[in-house]
């Protein structure tokens, strides 16, 4: 019977890959997210290899003894997973490039709803301090049109994103998409 105790080196590599991948997934930039996805994907592929047990001889009936053979099933699955990850990587890459074309950056932008809630919270905060509420009559549509490029002002904005009005810093947005 094949030795089923996992290879510790592989397990260690999986841990490193997935940890680094999760860290990168939490980043804003799509290219880092992409690398994160690739790392976790490879971690998962290695996990399949570990799941298949120790390496053995090629699984060719008639050429090798059956007890020496490696388990081919996880290898077939890993192959499929690699192809799928490759396709998704290509798409994500294309999307990051398109984002860069349009906005000169490739950052995942805030949920419009999130920003709206953050702004409401910021307004309530002020109201609590000086009882002077600010009137806002913008609808969600207008807000969505204005806020889609909030990351344009250089880097992921720190706190206070919600308090910014966003009306004066409308950058060169996707209206210029045909220019390239």
């Amino acid at each position: 019977m094949i030795d089923m105790s996992p290879n510790l080196v592989l397990v260690g590599v999986i841990v490193v890959l997935v940890t680094a991948g999760v860290y990168l997934l939490l980043e804003r930039s799509l290219s880092r997210v992409l690398i994160g996805v690739i790392l976790i994907g490879n971690g998962a592929n290695l996990l399949f290899l570990v799941a298949g047990g120790a390496a053995g001889r090629p699984p060719l009936v008639g050429l090798e003894l059956e007890r020496d053979m490696a388990d081919p099933l996880p290898q077939a699955m890993v192959l499929t997973a690699i192809v799928i990850t490759l396709g998704m990587t290509a798409f994500l890459l294309a999307m990051a490039y398109r984002s860069w074309q349009l906005h000169r950056h490739d950052e995942v932008q805030d949920d419009v709803e999130d920003r709206r809630i953050a702004r409401l919270a910021a307004r309530d905060q002020r109201a609590f301090e000086d009882a002077d509420t600010e009137e806002s009559t913008t609808t969600l549509d207008e807000e969505a049109a204005e806020t889609r490029d909030e990351t344009d002002e250089g880097g992921p904005g720190p706190a206070g994103v919600g308090a910014r009005s966003g009306e004066h810093d409308r950058p060169t947005d996707d209206r210029g998409e045909g220019s390239r």
Binding site: I40, F48, V50, D71, P72, F91
Partner: protein
């Protein structure tokens, strides 16, 4: 019965083949349209046939002649066949709608040459996920439909769609990775990814490991199905897509996740150790989702939030872990696919007629477009659960199952379900008042609606009504499907008849692994 098993792979193969053909003929848009409509019609016919055949017992195909636990098998049992039929009907209606839209706008408006192949691949992926009897093949099906959905969501690559698309793609990739890791762990623990064999082997492995696998799978499917803490991506990404795309996503993609949850919970983890957690998740999904809908002033966003909210009902039925709960859930899924897709199509029509989906700028549509008003009103009331429509029947089934369960948690869910139902009604009536009855803030643009679009939206609305008229037989079918889920031996027996092997080559267990 076995002479019809060749039908089972067709819902996957025909759209895939059609997609290749349509891609090759990208210079001939007319031919492309014909191909896609023919392919989807064939799928609908096959699915309806399977629906009838599967009532006598599951149809199983071992792909390529490789026997079941090693090779991949496709299983059409009652649940799969029902889901397949409903989804085929919906994809065909949406396709006709988008064809009519393309005709009205001229082909310059959208890159049609990739639209049709992608749409067909989406249909193939959905069918594959429904039919698959193998965990890894479900993953492949998910990836097929997700890859197609990425393309459809970012069609045209405008700034707004790239913004929405990047969130959607990253979240979907995360859930795929979780699913993949869960499959690897499953294989490590049980040495198989075949659902039937897993059902036999999982009870033998360590309970802690089993719980881990269950949680991982639920997380992966929960993201796809948009269950509350994992649902934030949905309302922000769906509404930006073109109307037919949003409609088909809303109708089908989340339901594929729900289907996967039903399948794995009933077949692999029948002891139901996560049921209480699922109950709470269902309650949170219902209430948070509908509160989000009430707060919206944009019709598409409002509908997206009701979509999230009503996933909670299906989850409630699953978490009850009784035959009554499951059958109500299955009926509710069928009802919701049709009604929600219909509503999104009508929202697309409203956008065309009124120039916007913002409820603040719409108004007076009831007078301007009475047909549109009827088309919106019927599915809206259906979704809100007004008797005697199918939404009411599904909800009554769920509430009955909840009361029959009798635990305080189930009763809380029953109350939550009723409240959610009322709030749904409130949100939709608000939308109705603003879009159809209020005096428009400024006169609406003068636009006419293409007959084809109205016709296909109307077809879905009528289909929703047919669910009501045919509720008896359909609910009976759902009940039999739930009974089959409860008696797992039927599924296992038909996949692995005797000696634990399917039909085909690689009959010897000891030699099994060489054949993959």
């Amino acid at each position: 019965m076995t002479e019809y098993t060749w039908l089972v792979p067709l819902p996957v193969v025909v759209p895939l083949f059609g997609a290749g053909l349509a891609l090759a003929l990208y210079r001939r848009p007319r031919l492309q349209r014909i191909i896609s409509v023919v392919a989807l019609s064939v799928v609908l016919v096959v699915a309806a046939t399977l629906l009838v055949l599967a009532d006598d017992g599951p149809l199983v195909v071992d792909i390529g002649g490789w026997a079941a636990p090693v090779g991949i098998d496709l299983v059409a049992d009652r649940l799969s066949a029902l889901m397949l039929t409903v989804s085929a009907a919906v994809t065909l209606c949406v396709q006709l709608y988008s064809l009519a839209q393309g005709e009205a706008d001229g082909d310059e408006a959208a890159p049609v040459s990739i639209y049709h192949p992608t749409y067909l691949i989406l249909a193939a992926g959905v069918a594959n996920a429904f039919l698959s009897g193998d965990l890894f093949n479900i993953y492949v099906g998910f990836e097929i439909l997700l890859a197609a959905s990425y393309v459809l969501l970012t069609l045209g690559g405008t700034g707004e769609r790239i913004r929405a698309g990047s969130i959607y793609v990253v979240v979907a990739l995360l859930s795929s990775l979780l699913f993949l890791i869960a499959i690897a762990l499953t294989y490590a623990a049980a040495g198989t990814v075949n659902l039937a064999q897993l059902a036999e082997r999982l009870p033998e492995i360590d309970p802690g490991v089993r719980l881990l696998l269950q949680v991982m799978l639920l997380l992966a499917f929960g993201i796809k199905a948009a269950i509350f803490p994992l649902s934030a991506w949905l309302p922000d990404s769906y509404p930006t897509a073109p109307a037919p795309v949003t409609a088909v996503f809303a109708g089908l993609l989340t339901k594929v996740g729900v289907y996967a949850i039903i399948r794995t919970q009933t077949l692999l983890f029948p002891e139901g150790r996560m049921d209480d957690v699922l109950m709470w998740a269902a309650l949170a999904t219902m209430v948070v989702g509908i509160l989000g809908a009430v707060a919206q002033d944009d019709l598409k966003r409002l509908l997206s939030f009701t979509l999230v909210s009503h996933i909670g009902y299906m989850l409630f039925g699953i978490a009850l872990a009784s035959q009554a709960g499951w059958s109500a859930s299955i009926y509710y899924v069928a009802h919701h696919i049709i009604v929600q897709t219909g509503l999104f199509l009508v929202a697309g029509l409203i956008e065309r007629r009124g120039g916007s989906t913002s409820l603040d700028s719409l108004g007076g549509l009831a007078k301007l477009a009475p047909v549109l008003a009827i088309l919106f009103f019927i599915p809206a009331m259906n979704l809100g659960g007004i008797p005697p429509l199918s939404g009411f029947l599904g909800k009554v089934g769920l509430l009955q199952a909840g009361v029959a369960d009798g635990s305080w948690l189930a009763l809380t869910l029953v109350v939550g379900g009723v409240v959610t139902s009322l709030l749904t009604l409130y949100a939709l009536i608000k939308a109705w008042n603003k879009a159809f009855w209020q005096t428009p803030p400024e006169p609406l643009p003068d636009a006419t609606l293409p007959k084809g679009m109205v016709g296909s939206a109307a077809a879905l609305v009528v289909l929703g009504l047919a669910l009501t008229v045919a509720a008896g037989p359909l609910y009976g079918y759902a009940e039999r499907a739930a009974a089959a889920l409860d008696d797992r031996s039927v599924y296992i027996q038909s996949v692995l008849p005797e000696g634990g092997r399917g039909s085909g080559e690689s009959v010897d267990v000891a030699h099994g692994e060489e054949d993959a």
